[in-house]
Amino acid sequence: MLAYVTRRIFYVIPIVISVALVCFMLVHITPGDPLVAVLPADASQELANQLRIAYGFDRPLPVQFGIWLWKAVNGDLGQSIATGRPVLTEVMRAVGNTVTLAIAAASIGFALGLFFGLIAGYFRDTWIDKVATSIAIAGVSLPHYWLGMVLVIIFSVQLNWLPAVGAGPGGSGAWGWDWQHTRYLILPAITTAAIPMGIVTRTIRALTGDILSQDFVQALRAKGLREIHVFRHVIKNAAPTALAVMGLQLGYMLGGSILIETVFSWPGSGLLLNSAIFQRDLPLLQGTILVLALFFVLLNLMVDIAQAAIDPRIKRG
């Protein structure tokens, strides 16, 4: 197991360097001026050139990449051009808020997904299966920003039950897990949960149906095992794939959603990315993408290790 974990960690290193290079290049090859955050539209080219030198954007790209990577390795992602605040502080604050949202959304999405998936798989081709599958398809198919807007119109504008935007009465800095704050979380969490719920439902349904048709299940039943014990075996066999799918979904949610966070003005990494993109704040954009990509890589690593722990066949492969 230790050798497997070491090997997986070793594989992560080139991935991280590639991710850093890709995110650096992506933001630099996009059109537009990186100084747009500190230069008004009407600033002269002369002033733009002066600031380009002051910010180091006049240097060759490989030099800029080298400096940025070296600083990043040392925990310094630079400073936001627009605000002057350290990128790392900005990103970590936003990521914290996205994690809050992702945890809430994962709790809702995975719980519902597992429930609907299992009953749909178990009662395959019955009306229960059709209802659960319809819910799953709706969850996957509805554009989530549209769903968010509809939820806001119903629950905030019409019924006035829940707040439409924000992360608490005092902002995310004063966040607490009480009703005053969690009521701000409900609508964005439900919106974020819709797609994972659908995907988990469909995955678990397919897995459950497949496993139930296998010979060993027949054997278990023939041995006279009670249905609840048979079901436990089904769950155990479905677990590695389900875990991988949920891990990926959690990764997506931890990456934040630009659309959902913008619709709800939720101050997470998606809203931060939105702001960085529109302001062409390159250090902030690079730093945010890098941190989110690293999260994803790390999460995949953890899922791989967890899968190997559950299913010993994986580490042998």
Binding site: P31, G32, D33, L35, V36, A37, V38, L39, P40, A41, D42, A43, S44, Q45, E46, L47, A48, N49, Q50, L51, A54, Y55, Q79, I81, A82, T83, G84, R85, P86, E90, R93, A94, M149, V152, I153, S156, V157, N160, P163, A164, V165, G166, A167, G170, G171, S172, G173, T262, V263, F264, S265, P267, L271, L272, N274, S275, F278, Q279, R280
Partner: protein
């Protein structure tokens, strides 16, 4: 009997408790703070350190609220044009012997929010924060948004505690107008942060001091920073000691929330979560009004134009073509049909009533027969259309609805024998190209560009487009306009130091630009904002800015 007495006693006790509770609540009710909650269009709180980013929305919310400049805009009237009035300087005059030197007399008895005095040292310090590269407080991040808005200011020198001398690179009568953009931050507060800052060298310490100052800002404005959560909320409290007693805010607090998405802002307003939103979603305007909210609009110093290329070979070099385009657009149709009334038809950069309007002889209006006649005189007709190409964006600050509006122009101009091709590019790229000019390959063969502009001061409204020396890379004369008459009028306006005479010279310049049909003038934005009917005392001036001081709220 005993039971009856006991019940009476209980009732009495309950009554006394209720009375006590009411008494306890009374002071709280009396002391309830009035709070105005505003949803901005910005995706982030504009910078709070004195020189805001995010364009004039930044100046509106974190500039003019917490800070003052030496000169400021009169925002008291919805009818009259907003003009420059004394701010932290009570009076000023140019040196008769050397027109590059200005003497500014400062207001006395003004203090920063931290209690330190505002004086000539503070003015010099604030000028040097953006102009003197070896000053400890020099901050490159503030240079872009400031230096470009006061292009001729060179230096400042203290004469005495209440007198300061400002020097320009060349004689420039626009200086007092440009100075509305230089906000006075507290040097004492900054120094305190600098002394406490960690950093490898003075530059790093300075950067850290500015970052700390942004979190704990201090200006002289009518509002003080009360609490700040970056990217989420900025709470301002009224400055009870504001130097202009008539402008001490009536409200206790104001909360600024970034909400870049128009539907989210609108939903937050309609659900009662906030009291005021900037730029409501156009589709929701009817519902906003129907639910009893107020929609405020007024003509804004903003122009939605096509800026013509005047380089060799451009079809716009023929004045008949330029005039025909201006006469071929039904601006009222655009206003009522596409923009639901949210625009003012443009007949120039300034409309009648503005001191810089002048008396142009060419009247911009919808007159299709005259436009067609002009085009025929220029050699075009139904069988020979004039191909023109305009670069525009799909969205962008101040661009209103660029694609539908340009498609409207495309159809309108087709009736006057124009064949308009649209080159749609991303907004930031569009105005990066704007600085490069029509001769640059980035123009992609376009002979017009559709970048909207603010027309608050003469440099930004006229000079940077019309003066030949402002051609790229110097400034925004994208089309390389080279008209000796414009150059002469610009020089005259810049060197006329009597304000009334200067305004007359600017009016002549504007009239000349309209007579020359320098641009295709299409629309002025009206800065729509929606607010709760509880808000009283609000005046929407003809400006990008708003005075929050007279606003109150009914419970």
């Amino acid at each position: 009997m005993r039971t009856e007495k006991s019940a009476k006693r209980q009732r009495m006790a309950v009554a006394m408790m209720l009375a006590a509770a009411s008494m306890a609540a009374l002071p709280r009710i009396a002391a309830a703070e009035s709070l105005l909650r505003i949803g901005m269009t910005a995706a982030d709180i504009p910078r709070t350190l004195g020189q805001p980013d995010q364009g004039f929305e930044g100046n509106r919310f974190t500039g003019l609220t917490m800070y003052d400049a030496l000169t400021m805009w009169d925002l008291s009237s919805a009818d009259k044009p907003s003009v420059v009035i004394p701010g932290l300087a009570s009076e000023w005059k140019v040196d008769d012997g050397d027109k590059t030197k200005w003497i500014f007399k400062l207001r006395t008895g003004v203090s920063f929010h931290d209690g330190s005095p505002f004086n000539a040292d503070a003015v010099v310090w604030n000028v040097e924060k953006v102009l003197k590269q070896d000053a400890p407080q020099f901050d490159p991040s503030q240079v872009g948004v400031t230096a470009s808005r006061m292009p001729t200011l060179a230096s400042a020198r203290k004469i005495d505690d209440v007198t300061v001398q400002l020097t320009t690179k060349e004689p420039d009568s626009f200086l007092p107008i440009n100075l509305t953009n230089l906000f006075m931050a507290s040097p004492a507060k900054w120094q305190k942060h600098y002394d406490a800052a960690q950093g490898a060298d003075a530059k790093a310490k300075s950067q850290a001091a500015w970052a700390a100052f942004a979190r704990d800002a201090s200006g002289t404005g009518p509002w003080k920073m009360s609490s700040f959560t970056p990217r989420e909320r900025l709470e301002l409290a009224k400055n009870q000691n504001y130097w202009d007693k008539a402008r001490v805010p009536k409200l206790d607090k104001m909360l600024l929330l970034p909400m870049p998405e128009a539907n989210a802002r609108t939903a937050a307003l309609l659900s009662g979560q906030i009291d005021w939103i900037e730029a409501p979603a156009p589709d929701a305007v009817a519902e906003i009004k129907q639910r009893g909210f107020l929609l405020q609009t007024n003509e804004e110093p903003h122009v939605w134009p096509w800026q013509f290329s005047r380089v060799e070979g451009s079809p716009w070099n023929d004045i008949r073509v330029r005039k025909a385009a201006n006469l071929c657009v039904d601006r009222d149709g655009l206003k009522e049909g596409l923009l639901a009334g949210l625009m003012v038809p443009a007949t120039g950069t300034f409309e009648p009533g503005h001191p810089w309007r002048g008396n142009p002889s060419f009247q911009i209006k919808y007159d299709k027969p005259s436009a067609q006649k002009l085009m025929q005189e220029a050699g075009y007709g139904p069988g020979k259309k004039l191909a023109v190409k305009v670069q525009t964006s799909a969205s962008g600050s101040g661009q209103m609805l660029p694609l539908p509006m340009n498609e409207y122009l495309q159809q309108a101009l087709a009736e006057c024998y124009f064949d308009v091709q649209l080159d749609v590019i991303e907004w930031n790229t569009l105005f990066t190209n704007w600085r490069r000019g029509a001769k640059d390959p980035s123009a992609n063969g376009a002979n017009a560009t559709n970048v909207t502009y603010a027309a608050m001061d003469p440099f930004f409204a006229l000079v940077r487009f019309l003066q030949s020396s402002m051609a790229p890379p110097v400034s925004n004369n994208w089309g390389f306009i080279n008209n000796p008459k414009f150059d002469e009028l610009v020089s005259k306006a810049r060197q006329t130091f009597d304000p009334a005479e200067r305004d007359k010279a600017l009016a002549d310049l504007h009239a000349a630009s309209v007579d020359d049909a320098a641009f295709l003038y299409v629309a002025h934005d009206v800065a729509p904002r929606a607010m709760s009917s509880k808000i009283k005392g609000f005046v929407q001036p003809k400006s990008w800015f708003v005075d929050f001081s007279p606003i109150s709220m009914t419970p």
